[in-house]
């Protein structure tokens, strides 16, 4: 593997955009690793939170965008709560996710789940859990997702088979439409 050329890898715009959109000063990070240490998802990450912070400091956009970690972040804000330098790390992770998405980046399964969820909201005004599952399976082809849970939950008769449709669904729909029209997501 080639060593990283620090100059070649440095994308100032990227660094500045992350800082501006998240409102955080990344140069404060001194790589203590406390975020990584407390992150519930760390073991599943391909790049630890503190490493994501480091990559942003270096302006290494490619490394950040190629990492799965920002998609996987569950936004529990443990990192934010404990950061000794008062960086809202979770917000940075969120920001990275938004930026990546605007440039067409996608996580193989997560985006499908989120899009499925938002689609049910767009159509009916509220989230519809069974609908989400159905759409998700359709989009990912993972038709067996959580099928083991079905026998546990179905008898509890909690999940309605038709979505709750609200009167203001059109208004909610318009929010999505304007959002897309204004190309806010890329």
């Amino acid at each position: 593997m080639d060593s990283i050329n620090l100059e070649a890898v440095r994308d100032e715009d990227f660094l500045r955009t992350v800082e501006k959109e998240s409102g955080q000063n990344l140069s404060r990070c001194y790589q203590c690793g406390k975020c990584t240490a407390g992150c519930p998802c760390g073991p599943a990450y391909d790049m630890q939170v503190s490493q994501v912070m480091r990559a942003i400091q270096l302006g290494d956009k490619q490394a950040v965008f190629e990492a799965a970690s920002p998609w996987l972040c569950v936004s529990c804000s443990t990192c934010t709560a404990r950061c000794p330098n008062e960086i809202d790390v979770a917000r940075v992770m969120d920001t990275v996710r938004h930026m990546n998405r605007r440039e067409g980046g996608k996580h193989p399964t997560l985006n499908a789940f989120w899009d499925s969820f938002l689609k049910t909201v767009r159509l009916s005004g509220r989230a519809y859990e069974l609908g989400v599952m159905a759409l998700y399976m359709l989009r990912t082809g993972k038709v067996l997702t959580d099928m083991d849970l079905a026998p546990r939950i179905m008898p509890k008769r909690k999940l309605p088979f038709v979505p709750h449709v609200i009167r203001g669904k059109a208004a909610v729909g318009r929010i999505f439409k304007r959002f897309h029209d204004l190309r806010m997501d890329g």
Partner: protein
């Protein structure tokens, strides 16, 4: 009037972003300027000599130097001006370094600004008058506040030099934090073996008066002539009778008294001698826990005392001492980690302790007799985690600074842990190892290489009990880039330090400044580290900033040298930059008398009329009176209304 203007390049410090030649040229046009030049280093010997030469050559009456902050070199240049035969107050400074060249790179703007600052200085100087100091006697006695190692060193050095010393200590015994330590780095020699003899010297020195259980309550006066009120809490024991035999401690029934000296690692008795080598080795009663004093019943110690030293009727007393100088050596305290680190349990987990508590567990004179036993169950821990930077370098809790000596004592404690429990394993979680002192880095390397201490680079995110008697320490190995965790029996936190509790109040009493962390502010961080901005008040040890023992001792001696130097002069000169009353203008309303913070103004009957009068030695030159007098009858020399107006007018002429 003829004024000389000297613009300093300060190498490239000023000249880098200010066109000094142009500033000097501009100054030629300013009123009364008869000579103007620029120079590479005004504060250097040739630079100063040039001033002297030009004053003589051009017959100058006053000098303006534009260079660094007057807080830095005003005294230097005043001396130069004096050497040139002028009154040293016929001098003004324009700060074109800290306030100009160092804070911006726009050369045009900087050059213009520098010229304006010179213009202001010229306008002020035109209204300066020669001022003359008065001489006054000093009291050859020094007050040292705090009897930790720094205070002890300062006291002994002053006493050896022949000064009378009043040493005031808040606790029942002297020795401070060092007395609580087991061993000291980097030599791992016994703390009480090296501090003990000094403590004994204090108690035996004919020139030292020691007040324990005492605090400074009020300070008035000025350099050379302070008057200090010391409040001494009642020990309820007559020290002249107490022999320190300790019989009272054995019989005292209040056996659950918190043990301050042992960092609350175990209980003690309400009457006690904090530790065997205590100086003074006298018993004192903790009135909050003594049954006789709280409930009126008991009195066992009085019965048992062979010399009848116990006196429940003792009252707090206030002692007044007159001194010529004051050394503050109040040391540090650990910051309040419990309210700031919920993720480390916030004090809920018994086996998560501070490093100072760990020292007491290590100490043979401590509550466990020198055996490391963990507080929860008294078991010997086999795995110990040390966490560095708890309350240091943590901006989120408002502690941005490095506490300086934690890296070293953590390494020492890891080493001692292995010495005490050979089959133990220590883990040190650190961010950076700071070991810049003599033999320091070698010591930390030894802890790793010879004692097998595991150093993991990463801040700990959380400590969580696993429900089975151990604690999971969750961290990241940032060198590996992976989260890591380890289950340990005991966690020792290297808690950050701050100025001792109550230091803010003491600073206000002493009229010195302190920072947000309770550390006292020195006069100049590099060049005047033991002086404060209040003449006659000096600093020693950790009260000025986190310090290890070698530095504290050095600063204690440094402060002592300053005191000795100050009081060795037969007389001191007063600062003549004080207030003056124009008795013609004064209507005797006394508003100045009411506001003066120093009671430096009195009302006098002068030829049948009431007039204000300034006591020269007492006036500190704040100018509050000048800002209060409606008719401008009282003026602060060197900062008169007209001088400040001249500066305003130099800037604002619309």
């Amino acid at each position: 009037m003829k004024i000389g203007v000297f613009i300093c390049h300060c190498g490239s410090n000023i000249a880098g972003t200010v066109d000094c030649v142009k500033v000097a040229k501009n100054a030629e046009a300013f009123p009364d300027v008869a000579y103007s030049t620029d120079n590479m280093y005004m504060c250097s010997e040739p630079g100063q000599d040039h001033i002297v030469e030009m004053v003589k050559k051009h017959d100058l009456d006053g000098v303006v130097v534009a260079s660094c902050s007057p807080r830095m070199h005003e005294p230097t240049f005043r001396r130069a001006v004096e050497r040139a035969g002028l009154n040293k107050y016929m001098f003004e400074m324009a700060n074109i370094r800290e306030h100009v060249s160092w804070i911006g790179k726009d050369k045009d703007a900087n050059t213009n600004k520098a010229s304006e600052l010179v213009r202001m200085a010229v306008e002020k100087l035109r209204r300066n008058a020669p001022l003359f100091s008065k001489k006054f006697e000093t009291i050859k006695k020094v007050l040292v506040v705090g009897a930790g190692v720094a205070g002890i060193q300062a006291a002994l050095d002053c006493a050896d030099a022949g000064l009378q010393v009043v040493l005031v200590e808040r606790e029942p015994a002297i020795g401070g934090k060092m007395a609580k330590l087991d061993k000291t780095f980097p030599t791992v020699d016994c703390s009480s073996c090296i501090l003990g003899p000094k403590m004994v010297d204090v108690s035996q020195h004919p020139n030292i008066t020691l007040y324990t259980l005492s605090e400074v309550e009020k300070v008035s006066g000025y350099v050379g002539n302070f008057s200090v009120n010391i409040k001494r809490r009642a020990p309820y024991v007559d020290f002249s009778k107490c022999t320190g035999c300790g019989a009272c401690m054995e019989k005292c029934p209040a056996k659950k008294t918190p043990d301050r000296f042992n960092e609350f690692m175990g209980p003690t008795t309400a009457i006690n001698i904090p530790f065997p080598q205590a100086i003074p080795k006298k018993a004192t009663i903790n009135p909050q826990y003594c049954r006789k004093l709280t409930e009126g019943k008991c009195g066992i110690c009085a019965k048992i005392c062979p010399t009848g030293a116990i006196n429940y009727e003792m009252k707090d007393e206030v002692i007044t001492e007159e001194v010529g100088a004051i050394v503050a050596a109040t040391g540090y305290d650990l910051m309040d980690w419990k309210s700031n680190y919920g993720e480390y349990g916030g004090g809920r987990y018994p086996d998560v302790i501070t490093s100072l508590q760990y020292e007491r567990l290590l100490s043979a004179a401590g509550p466990t007799g020198g055996h490391i036993l963990r507080p929860s169950d008294g078991r010997e821990p086999k795995k110990v985690a040390f966490i560095c930077c708890v309350g240091s370098r943590d901006r989120s809790i408002g502690r941005p600074y490095c506490s300086g000596f934690c890296c070293m004592y953590t390494a020492k404690q890891a080493v001692l842990t292995k010495d005490h429990i050979p089959d133990s394993q220590s883990y040190v979680f650190y961010m950076d190892i700071r070991a810049p002192g003599k033999l320091y880095d070698e010591f930390t390397r030894r802890a790793i290489e010879e004692y097998g201490t595991e150093y993991i680079r990463g801040r700990v995110s959380a400590i969580q009990p696993d429900g089975k008697g151990q604690y999971i320490v969750r961290a990241a190995d940032t060198l590996l880039g992976k989260p890591v965790e380890v289950a340990v029996d005991l966690v020792v936190l290297a808690v950050g330090v701050e100025g001792a509790k109550g230091s803010g109040k003491l600073a206000e009493t002493l009229h010195i400044s302190y920072d947000n962390f309770g550390f006292f502010l020195e006069s100049h961080i590099k060049l005047r580290p033991v002086e404060t901005n209040t003449a006659g008040v000096f600093l020693a040890g950790s009260c000025q900033g986190a310090k290890d023992i070698p530095s504290s001792v050095a600063q204690g001696s440094g402060a002592a040298a300053k005191v000795i130097g100050l009081l060795s002069k037969p007389k001191l000169e007063s600062d003549p930059q004080i207030s003056n009353v124009n008795i013609k203008r004064c209507v005797g309303c006394g508003k100045c008398v009411d506001v003066c913070p120093f009671q430096a103004i009195t009302k006098e009957n002068i030829r049948g009329e009431i007039k204000a009068q300034v006591i020269e030695a007492v006036c500190q030159g704040c100018g509050l009176c000048a800002a209060t007098c409606p008719q401008g009858a009282i003026q602060l020399s060197h900062f008169t209304d007209n001088q400040i107006l001249a500066e305003v007018n130099a800037l604002c002429q619309c």
